[in-house]
């Protein structure tokens, strides 16, 4: 078997060890929610995740471990979500919803492509230092909440769950170029929020 850590957890899950289920939920719930959000939207996501968990438990004993546990769980979630959709697939909207602190747009550059408003040095230079600012955390949450469901999910799956871009494409059935556009624009919005906070000290 290629996934030894998964095998250890699976063995515990198969004897119904409650602590193992807590670990499983704590580790994967966030990624599963992001997948469900992207496909069915926020209204139905919770139900899809619930159904996906039940499908996971039903099929746990038969899972062969040919993929990682994470890939298997997310595939079940994506399939559960697609079944719910029954072909009413929403269009992939690349149109950007404005974010509270904007982005790094054309207005930051001269006509010749040089910086007009170049980034300043930030006061904080580690993630830990930035995250000690409670107001910044709230501010960031607001920016994340302003993203479309699909864009927010792509960002979450890439940055927080560490999925590869092609895994995201396969799960969400979005083309690689669209995933790249969504991800890049989302990152610039997050950048703009941190930059705004660093420059003004407020949200």
């Amino acid at each position: 078997m290629d996934y030894p850590a998964d095998q250890i957890l699976l063995a515990r899950l198969r004897v119904s060890e409650q602590k193992a289920y807590r670990e499983l939920v704590a580790t994967y719930q966030g990624a599963m929610r992001a997948v469900a959000f992207a496909i069915v939207g926020s209204r139905n996501a919770d139900e899809v995740v619930q159904d996906a968990w039940l499908a996971v438990v039903r099929n746990l004993d038969g899972f062969q471990g040919r993929s990682s546990l994470k890939t298997w769980l997310l595939t079940i979630t994506a399939n559960t979500a697609k079944t719910r959709l029954k072909g009413n697939r929403r269009e992939v909207l690349l149109d950007d919803i404005p974010s509270p602190h904007g982005t790094v747009g054309d207005e930051r550059f001269h006509g010749d492509g040089h910086w007009l408003l170049a980034p300043h040095a930030w006061h904080h230079d580690s993630p830990e230092a930035l995250l000690t600012e409670e107001e910044l955390r709230e501010c960031l949450e607001r920016t994340l909440a302003s993203l479309s469901e699909l864009q927010g999910s792509v960002l979450h799956l890439r940055e927080r769950e560490g999925l590869e871009l092609d895994e995201i494409c396969n799960l969400l059935q979005v083309s690689l170029s669209n995933v790249r556009v969504l991800l890049h624009r989302a990152r610039l919005k997050v950048f703009a929020t941190l930059e705004h906070f660093e420059e003004t000290g407020q949200c």
Binding site: L13, V57, V104, F109, P127, L140, H184, R187, V190, L194
Partner: protein, 77 residues
Amino acid sequence: MLSCKELVAHSSEYIDGQMKLRRRLSVRMHLAMCVNCRRFIKQLRLSQAVLRRLPRGQSAESDELAAKLAEVHRQQH
């Protein structure tokens, strides 16, 4: 030569390591000469790290869910 604006437009591909060698080299050359873009890339990576470390909401709900799932599994046997 790559402009600052172009560099920013391709910065995600660069930090994801998804760039073809040739363009990667032109980004590296630009960064070697441009302090503003070096700072931009550094701060973009910092933003990435901040997201990664944003605390996850651990709720009583997930404990409840875990208990329910363990119970469902037990009943299957």
